[in-house]
Symmetry: C2
Subunit: 427 residues, 2 copies
């Protein structure tokens, strides 16, 4: 491999294209994983809600449905695990594989808790909040896995679709928590003031997630979401839940609430499925385009290469700045190399560098948005860990600090992360 041989430059140019293609193929598989996660989360959400109805009604409601919900989860879980196997085989080519695998271990651990949990639930051996927490924890780890995948995607358009999908999934999970919490409280006969506050928080945080979704989604899916009107009867139950005192609830409000919330969440799942399909379509389009680009590049460079003649002056004399090309013009014929080689090669090299740079700029802009979100999440995590706060309490603490200091939430989060060391280890 010598520098003077233009075929070396060409080889790296083509390797660059090929790597782009490979990473797109990897994104297609990541997209499939996200689809499986979407399905598994949906089923876990439903089992969580059903479990709450069962536990809070003292076993009166949904006893028969529990095993159906478990079956759905088991089936979705098998699909998910198959895709995790694909992930495992891609280990070598994954960016930040160690993080992805660590997240996967967390997911698998939390899913592994469910079988034993279900036995305790059926024996009424587990308080409802503990059951809800275990399901929510598994879902949280699954969503974190989606976030990792979105965060490492290097193609801006696909990264954008993944961020839209992730934001939507987060919003839907908050809607799922709202359903589960409401089902439990209606079944138990009413909402405590704490539960009412949690409900309000869940509603507000949904809005924020869907706002992020709206700013990253494609037109079709954004329109589909905006056309999705929250049912008026569901809104009425929400108001009832937030204002009425315990003991003053309609009979069987829990089943009514659960049915309406499920209709709403199922409609969300429909959009989520469309998002997933749009994502996969996008991946396939980009792969096809990248395959074509590889072929085009191959065609561009074939014929550019000089016939080997043992000359080691390289291609340098023919090219560089135009004046240099003229200075060296006399050498062309004696060498058997076509005069346009240098200029064509220069233009190919520059094109590729410029294209990657512009992709990179686009990505950097998106990452800035994501990074703010991440900083806020991390600061929230810190508060949860060190002060033993719930997610809502942590978020509210941050927001209160931001309002009091007239600063942006992300500034408060960044400041908190900067002093994290001072907080010390929670152990």
């Amino acid at each position: 491999m010598t520098v003077a041989d233009p075929s070396t430059t060409i080889r790296f140019l083509m390797a660059s294209r090929q790597c782009e293609l490979n990473s797109l193929r990897g994104l297609l598989q990541s997209g499939e994983l996200v689809g499986r996660i979407s399905q598994l989360v949906h089923m876990l959400q439903r089992e969580r809600g059903t479990t709450n109805l069962f536990l809070c009604s003292g076993g009166r409601l949904c006893a028969d449905e529990l095993s159906l919900r478990e079956q759905d989860v088991t089936q979705a879980q098998a699909q998910f695990m198959a895709q995790v196997g694909v992930l495992e085989q891609r280990a070598a080519s994954l960016p930040q594989a160690s993080r992805l695998f660590s997240r996967t271990a967390s997911v698998l651990y939390s899913l592994g808790l469910l079988p034993g949990l279900r036995q305790q639930i059926r024996q009424h051996n587990l308080p409802q909040p503990d059951a809800m927490a275990a399901f929510s924890e598994a879902i949280r780890h699954l969503l974190t896995l989606v976030f990792e995948v979105s965060d490492t995607a290097a193609e801006p358009v696909i990264a954008r679709a993944l961020i839209a999908m992730f934001s939507f999934m987060q919003g839907k999970e908050l809607a799922g928590q709202e359903r589960a919490l409401g089902a439990a409280a209606f079944a138990a006969g009413g909402f405590s003031p704490t539960e009412q506050q949690t409900l309000l928080d869940l509603i507000e945080r949904q809005e924020r997630c869907f706002d992020t979704f709206v700013s990253f989604a494609d037109d079709d899916n954004r329109a589909a979401w905006q056309a999705l009107v929250t049912d008026r009867e569901f809104e009425r139950l929400r108001r009832l839940a937030c204002t009425r005192l315990p003991g003053n609830m309609p009979p069987d409000g829990s089943l009514h609430w659960f049915a309406l919330a499920t209709t709403r969440i199922d409609a969300m799942k429909q959009i989520e499925d469309n998002l997933e399909q749009a994502l996969m379509r996008l991946c396939r389009e980009r792969i096809a385009a990248a395959e074509q680009a590889c072929l085009d590049q191959q065609a561009d460079v074939s014929g550019l290469l000089p016939t080997p003649d043992g000359d080691d002056h390289g291609y340098s004399v023919f090219i560089a700045a135009p004046d240099m090309a003229e200075a060296g013009a006399g050498w062309l014929d004696s060498d058997g190399v076509r005069p346009q080689l240098g200029r064509s090669l220069l233009s190919l090299v520059q094109q590729q560098a410029r294209r990657l740079q512009s992709l990179d700029n686009e990505l950097a802009e998106m990452r800035a948005t994501l990074s703010e979100r991440k900083q806020i999440d991390r600061a929230k995590g810190l508060l949860m860990q060190h002060r033993g706060l719930s997610e809502e309490e942590a978020y509210n603490t941050l927001r209160r600090m931001a309002m009091n200091q007239n600063k942006k939430l992300v500034e408060i989060a960044a400041a908190m992360l900067a002093v994290a060391d001072v907080l010390g280890d929670p152990d």
Copy 2:
């Protein structure tokens, strides 16, 4: 592969560690590449300066030295190319390989121009500014490659060492440009006002690079740099260059300048070599630590695994929250699984996730610094491309805008990148 089997969780936990180890091994190879680049850049810098002396003295100075300088470059280039071959083989496991390879193609292209260039130089067929530009371009592409490698390093301590190394190399390259420009101007009999301004810019930009270096370097290398005092005679020549009118220069000032500047740059190279050695030592230490961590983890999990007994309740009943573990305590003996499995596994999973998260936080902080630098570089590139400005002019334009608007340089750069589309294509 089933969820309920704790060995699946353990497998991913161990895969996560293994991926960390692999990426550290990759960083060791990247470190070697950076070392080869450092050497090649050093030789190119010297050939550039010698060429300037030769061309501007009308061939009177350094005619014999040219081929020695070429030999040094050729040798360093062969070493570099060997390491590029290693890079090529690692393609599959490289983060953002497409960008790295595209950068490599740019490097190879610009190096491929040199043989023809040298022939024109020896025939006095090339103006000095063109010769200088061609050498500087090759060095610029080589430094960009170092930047890419630094930018994709996922281990904070090593990333920090790479950033220090990159900043130092950039500072040294500006010192190299200063030497080459001064050699040319002294040999030509004096500095034009434009050349004087360029010289001042080069001196000031060196300072900024070394400031960045100082904030990222380890203690030893920072101390070595701070102990390096600029020679008083060299400072005198600098003042002379910036103030004296053409035609009023000491005889043979160019050789004197070149010798003093070379002593200074060679001392810088000594520090750069130390930085490189520190970097490699760091990589090796981290690899050894990661290897040990893999072994420790293996020891931790061996013995944790249950004997296979066809039970598919999973490990869930033994663990989770402490209360759940107690709830399931009665099942332990009948199952043959050791009761601590669940809790130990949970602690391993959490430990790994927390460790990666804290590495990630550290990295994010450093990246913020780098990203500012990158935005400024990109904005500069935009100005160079669209307005046909030199690097100095582009930088000064940005700085002037920042001062006029009382804003930080990075804010101006970000604003410029945001409106980049409006600037249109330079073609």
